[in-house]
């Protein structure tokens, strides 16, 4: 079934927008994610993290809406910039610090690092690096739920505008629509794929126009505006749950960091940083709180302190834990132990 792609008017003034009923809750998850990631960056700079650090600075509003508005039983397929969404979906902070700091008690036990983590048993899928691959996996999880007679579930898969250009992404979108899967795909156009700007990524006017071609319903979103994120992504989740065709939301932001912390992003011109999409969603949300007097300065300070305490605790705990060791590792890539192929080394 094909639906006409629709677009919401891009919101212009934030202050007039009444905050969503979960605005403050969402703000606190954003604050926690930002605090955590700032700390991870300083650990990385101090040489305490092996491998890369990839943060979601500037994308917390989009991400938090994804994780927060899902329910128990829903499937979430986060990507690299989704700390806020992962936390709001239920990922404990200790999972993050254990993975980054290489504790053998973490969900990936030292076998995979940084953002390549998940809890498939809790419906938080563990992304592989290959962009676009998780869309069809999410569709498959939804097909399974349908087979099992479950009701009222949705899946939400995140993607960047760069990942939207892979074959796997196109295949995944198409099969989602063919299966009429209750899927929401939230695409965040942060205007760069690593160092490559939009004009070398795609040539269509607006990525949301692709929705109709896939058999999705499409919505645009100012990703710097937390209320809009909660409204638009919340609406998409609701429609998917109600049996509407799959939903594509395309959010516009600027990546307010390097691709990873190894990258100074010196290729981003100053004038891009002055664009409306370059505003910091966390600062914007805080301004809304102040302007509408949703919380006083004391409360905000207490929230900040609480976030810092949680982060410090998770880091301290993970730092005390043992690292995995090669000679104690169970080098077995199959769950069926008697089918492991033994090559004498």
């Amino acid at each position: 079934m094909l639906q006409t792609a629709q677009r919401t008017a891009k919101s212009k003034t934030k202050k007039a927008t009444p905050p969503h009923d979960r605005f403050l809750e969402a703000f606190r998850w954003m604050l926690l994610a930002r605090t955590l990631e700032e700390k991870l960056v300083s650990l990385y700079r101090g040489g305490l993290i092996t491998g890369g650090v990839y943060i979601g600075k500037g994308q917390e509003a989009v991400s938090v809406a994804c994780g927060l508005l899902l329910q128990k039983g829903d499937i979430f397929a986060p990507l690299i910039r989704d700390q806020a969404g992962r936390s709001a979906f239920g990922e404990p902070l200790i999972d993050v610090t254990r993975t980054y700091l290489g504790s053998r008690l973490g969900p990936m036990r030292g076998r995979d690092g940084n953002i390549h983590r998940g809890h498939p048993r809790n419906n938080e899928l563990a992304m592989i690096s290959h962009l676009g691959a998780m869309v069809s996996v999410t569709v498959g999880a939804l097909i399974a739920k349908r087979f099992k007679g479950e009701k009222n579930f949705v899946g939400l898969a995140c993607i960047g505008e760069g990942g939207m250009q892979t074959g796997a992404f196109h295949e995944g979108m198409n099969i989602a629509a063919v299966e009429q899967a209750p899927l929401v795909v939230v695409a965040t156009n942060n205007h760069y794929a690593y160092s490559t700007p939009n004009d070398r990524e795609f040539a269509c006017d607006d990525l949301v126009d692709r929705a109709i071609g896939y058999g999705f319903e499409g919505y645009s979103l100012d990703g710097t505006d937390l209320s809009a994120c909660l409204d638009v992504i919340g609406g998409a989740v609701k429609r998917a749950r109600a049996g509407r065709p799959p939903q594509l939301v395309v959010a516009s932001v600027l990546r307010l960091s390097g691709h990873g912390e190894h990258d100074d992003a010196s290729y981003v011109p100053e004038e891009v940083k002055r664009q409306p999409f370059a505003r910091d969603c966390l600062k914007m949300a805080e301004q809304t709180i102040i302007d509408l007097n949703l919380a006083d300065a004391e409360t905000l300070a207490a929230w900040r302190k609480d976030a810092a305490a949680q982060v410090d605790e998770a880091i301290a705990a993970a730092q005390q834990e043992a690292a995995p060791e090669g000679n104690k590792e169970d080098w077995c890539a199959l769950s069926t132990r008697d089918l492991v192929d033994h090559v004498d080394e």
């Binding site: 390549h116 996996v137 069926t336």
Partner: protein, 322 residues
């Protein structure tokens, strides 16, 4: 009654759908009244409504969806229309299915059926044997049944296994091989089979080349040689013990594969037997594979490209003389 290799595959799937509600079949043209490019799912969509599903031509997404469904407790069987097109799904198979248990402790029980190998006139893109690629990567089991009986029991076993299984079914054997009846049970997965006993030479093979090897062995009896033929059944895991035991009896080893010559199951067998059983060998082990070019279309060229009973016998004679 007589049943073909292809019918055995269909029967195994019918049984799986009947006995296990977690099973569904996903692939191009498998559903409706059509039942697959080779009819391996003929009639199943009608018998099991909603569980034999046609898909778009999207190999990556087909396998991706199977992976997601398997994580949620289903037992999907994916039919690739031809093994060759599984190249489009390599990423999902190798990087997603193959790594998932190791990374997350959650296994991904998918079965991917690959209609493999050459048939007359099929050309470069409908003839490939891809077991090497799948066996090379961790986290996958690779089955290569060479008999009607194994085609049946191994497919049932593949779906029961909690890990991803690449099931390479040979298109040449589809109609050429027949059995009287289907067995209840086969050898355990991972065990090679002595297809024919002998004491002069061990030929190790799998899939269609196992049948060619048996024919070569038959030809060599007329010359007074007793050739042992080992059917690997699974190329991963590889049953090194059975291989070493056979070479201990014969002292000579010839490995036959239909895939391209660089690397592969034949090279792996020789590497293992040589490193673990060098003292058992009376002559340098040999192997025979297809040529290192794309697989040709014309039957004359195709016959020259792949091993067959005659070429195997010639190679065996030379090795027996050493």
């Amino acid at each position: 009654m007589s049943i073909t290799y292809l019918e055995a595959i269909r029967e195994a799937q019918a049984k799986l759908l009947r006995d296990d509600e977690r099973v569904f079949i996903y692939g191009q043209d498998v559903g409706g009244t059509f039942g697959g490019a080779f009819k391996a799912t003929k009639g199943l969509a009608k018998e099991f409504p909603g569980r034999v599903l046609n898909t778009p031509i999207s190999e990556d997404a087909i396998v991706g969806a199977a992976i997601g469904a398997a994580m949620q407790g289903m037992r999907p069987i994916v039919e690739m229309q031809f093994a060759d097109f599984s190249s489009i799904a390599l990423n999902q198979i190798l990087n997603n299915a193959g790594t998932h248990y190791w990374r997350t402790n959650v296994p991904v029980p998918i079965t991917v059926r690959l209609p493999s190998g050459g048939t007359k006139g099929s050309g470069p893109f409908h003839s490939q044997s891809m077991e090497l690629i799948y066996a090379h990567y961790p986290g996958l089991i690779v089955m290569t049944p060479a008999t009607v009986e194994d085609a049946y029991t191994m497919l049932i076993e593949a779906v029961a296994i909690d890990d991803p299984v690449i099931y390479c079914e040979h298109k040449y054997l589809y109609y050429h091989l027949k059995a009287d009846k289907l067995p209840e049970k086969g050898l355990p997965t991972g065990r090679a089979r002595i297809a024919r006993e002998g004491r002069d030479l061990t030929i190790v093979s799998y899939s269609a080349m196992m049948q060619e090897s048996l024919a070569a062995a038959e030809e060599l009896t007329r010359e007074g040689f007793e050739v042992e033929v080992v059917d690997l059944r699974t190329v991963k895991p590889l049953d090194t013990d059975t291989l070493l035991a056979s070479v201990a009896r014969t002292g000579r080893l010839l490995c036959i594969g239909e895939s391209f010559p660089w690397g592969g199951a034949t090279a792996e067998v020789i590497a293992r037997v040589t490193s673990q059983g060098f003292h058992l060998l009376d002559a340098a082990p040999q192997r025979l594979n297809a040529k290192d070019t794309p697989i040709p279309y014309h039957p004359n060229l195709w016959n020259a490209h792949r091993p067959n009973a005659q070429k195997i016998a010639t190679k065996a004679r030379a090795l027996l003389r050493e």
